[in-house]
């Protein structure tokens, strides 16, 4: 009975003070929405943090430049069918030596290395117009290694990222696509073969940058047709992801030991800021969210306590006609919980449906949006806990006022 009265009076109060109520509910709904969003947005926060890390650089591309007086690579390329000065293995726009599988395997086994994958960069004559194109062959089974150094799935502008089995599909850089008026679905001739453009990508400037990307086996097949001598599974660069920014220098030393003193290791982020940034970025999203959540809860407390001050007269009169502190307390708490429940429900519904509508299923954690009941519980319970605090703060304010004093001011 007493609780029904409390809820009835609370609900009346909420309707009466629409602006304040809307403010309090909005704070609670933002809390819930942030919790849901941070937990479900593409790949979750950890992945988002890792994305940032990829750009900061606990990763490198290693290759061995070919030192020749001629400037290119006479032995390796056909002198009959193709112009040796124009086609061949290149890294960082200069001719490079091949790297053996065993070397890559040794690098991968280094305790300072998270993953290492072969990368093949080949320069081929343009099939339309003058000039050459650089092809990049990616080992698509090792995203950890290629995402940071070559191209990542998040950099797709149009179309879809190629997958490991793709032998006749390629991705082209945005600038390249623009130059030749290509779009996803267009066909592109490379050497004697035709490829479908699966995606247009726009990675930032990176050591593994090429004009056209394809799967490593596909490029190997193509390269074989351009060579005089048969080469089994060639690769001329290795993509290395260190265990972490902290291990980066050690990893580079390990790579140099395997590839020899003439090798070049290009690691474009610097590892020192990387170390600092690592701690920040891994947790940045969460820290920011926690700060925002705390601010929102404080805001709710502020709104609810200020409404008590505005209602001083009301509370004083109610106490005078015989409302007990208990009944005032129950009403204020009921109000607070209603704010939290309504606000949180709205926040959850809204963020949930936005995610369902706009976030593709493959970015969602296992089980989809309903796969993490903990998140939903938190999105409801954290506002409710906040409401408990806000309600108590409001009660403390209310009980700090003496009835007789209030009545004298009316």
């Amino acid at each position: 009975m007493i609780y029904r009265d409390a809820i009835r009076y609370a609900w009346r109060g909420i309707k009466r003070r629409q602006q304040l109520s809307a403010g309090a509910m909005l704070s609670y709904s933002l809390v819930s929405a942030i919790i849901v969003a941070v937990s479900f947005l593409p790949g979750g926060t950890r992945d988002a943090a890792r994305n940032i890390l990829w750009d900061i650089g606990a990763h490198s591309v290693a290759y061995i430049p070919r030192l020749t007086l001629e400037g290119c690579c006479i032995q390796t390329y056909s002198t009959e069918r193709y112009d040796p000065a124009r086609e061949g293995f290149v890294a960082n726009n200069a001719p490079s030596n091949l790297i053996f599988d065993e070397q890559i395997e040794m690098i991968r086994r280094s305790p300072n290395v998270a993953d290492a994958s072969p990368y093949l960069m080949f320069r081929i004559r343009a099939s339309t117009g003058q000039g050459e194109w650089v092809l990049g062959g990616i080992d698509l089974t090792r995203p950890v290694a290629y995402s940071a150094t070559v191209v990542a799935e998040s950099q797709v502008v149009e179309g879809e990222f190629i997958i490991p089995g793709d032998m006749e599909r390629v991705m082209v850089e945005l600038e390249f696509a623009g130059r030749y008026s290509l779009e996803a679905g267009s066909m592109l001739r490379l050497g004697d073969r035709y490829y479908e453009i699966a995606a247009i990508v726009n990675p930032p400037l990176r050591p593994g940058k090429a004009n056209i990307y394809m799967s490593l086996p596909a490029l190997r097949e193509l390269v074989v047709t351009r060579l005089d001598e048969y080469r089994e599974d060639p690769a001329n660069a290795v993509l290395v992801e260190s265990l972490g920014a902290r291990y980066h220098e050690a990893a580079k030393a390990d790579i140099a030991a395997v590839l020899g003193q003439t090798s070049r290791i290009s690691s474009f982020g610097c590892s020192v800021p990387g170390i600092t940034a690592m701690g920040i970025t891994e947790n940045a999203a969460w820290i920011i969210s926690v700060i925002v959540i705390i601010c929102m809860l404080l805001m709710a407390v502020k709104i609810q306590t200020s409404s008590v001050i505005l209602r001083q007269v009301e509370i004083g009169i109610l106490m005078a006609v015989g409302w007990t502190r208990g009944s005032i307390l129950r009403q204020l708490m009921a109000e607070s919980f209603l704010y939290a429940l309504i606000g949180a429900s709205a926040g959850i519904l809204l963020s949930g449906s936005l995610i369902l509508l706009f976030v593709p299923a493959e970015f969602m954690p296992a089980g989809g949006i309903f796969g993490r009941p903990v998140v939903w519980a938190a999105a409801l319970l954290i506002p409710v806990c906040g409401a408990t605090v806000a309600g108590m703060a409001a009660c403390l304010k209310a009980f700090g006022m003496r009835t007789a004093e209030i009545l004298r001011t009316i």
Partner: protein, 252 residues
């Protein structure tokens, strides 16, 4: 007076006193304002019996409101004792005082003290909190008492949408809805004209007579309630000076 016989005075005279509704003894109250002490009540003694209408006159600032609030338990005295039906009020907990006030005392304030943002009905209903009635019962009971005061068509009006006299009747309805045995009316006609004041007395006096309740009315002037007083006091310099018993008054 028309009703002729008044139990309280007869019983008083015959020394077969019933139990007083309320008994105050040696009530002291002072305030400290910027280091200066203001002694307002300096030993107030007062007994009120069932069926008795007590009028306390006093100039402005003599402490009439302070006394009313102390009797109702809204404020506490510095010293002294108040027994309500033999229960020492100021030994009760805050909670108990509130419940006791809600159930046994009807308060009519100097300025009505209606909640500005609540309708007439809601204001009256607020006195019915938590007493095991359903929402509909509370509503109809409040509507009923308001209709009895010719406010049946003004239930959903806010206080500011009502005339002063109507506001006063809403305040009266709130004070009477729990059928209290003691009415405390602090300058109940302070802000209304004579006709309205008479209307109000036309509600309160019969209620007290019929209910065999008691009423303490404070006033600073020649308010008509004085005419209905069984006992009349003057509050001056912090004490109550008996002015007239009922008989004295009649012969006056």
């Amino acid at each position: 007076m028309k009703d002729g016989i008044n139990m309280a005075s007869i019983e008083k005279n015959n020394m077969i006193k019933p139990k007083p509704v309320i008994r105050c003894s040696k009530i002291y109250k002072s305030f400290r304002v910027r280091g200066r002490r203001i002694d307002v009540l300096k030993g107030v003694d007062l007994e009120v019996y069932p069926g008795e209408i007590v009028v306390i006159k006093g100039r402005s600032g003599e402490g009439k409101s302070v006394l009313q609030w102390i009797i109702s338990g809204i404020d506490t005295p510095d010293s002294g004792e108040i027994l309500f039906e033999d229960v020492p009020v100021h030994h009760l907990s805050n909670e108990e005082i509130s419940i006791f006030r809600r159930q046994k005392i009807g308060l009519v304030f100097q300025n009505f003290n209606l909640i500005p943002s609540w309708t007439a009905l809601e204001n009256v209903e607020s006195a019915l909190l938590n007493n095991n009635m359903s929402e509909e019962e509370k509503r109809s009971r409040a509507a009923e008492i308001l209709s009895g005061m010719e406010l049946g068509d003004r239930l959903d009006n806010l206080p500011r949408e009502l005339s002063i006299g109507q506001q006063q009747r809403v305040a009266l309805a709130r004070a009477l809805i729990n059928d209290p045995g003691l009415i405390l009316a602090d300058e109940p006609t302070g802000s209304v004209d004579d006709v309205t004041a008479r209307d109000m007395l036309a509600i309160l006096i019969p209620y007290i007579r019929k209910r065999k309740g008691a009423m303490i009315v404070t006033t600073h002037g020649s308010f008509q309630a004085v005419n209905h007083a069984d006992t009349l006091y003057l509050l001056k310099d912090g004490i109550l000076i008996p002015e007239k018993g009922r008989q004295d008054y009649q012969s006056y």
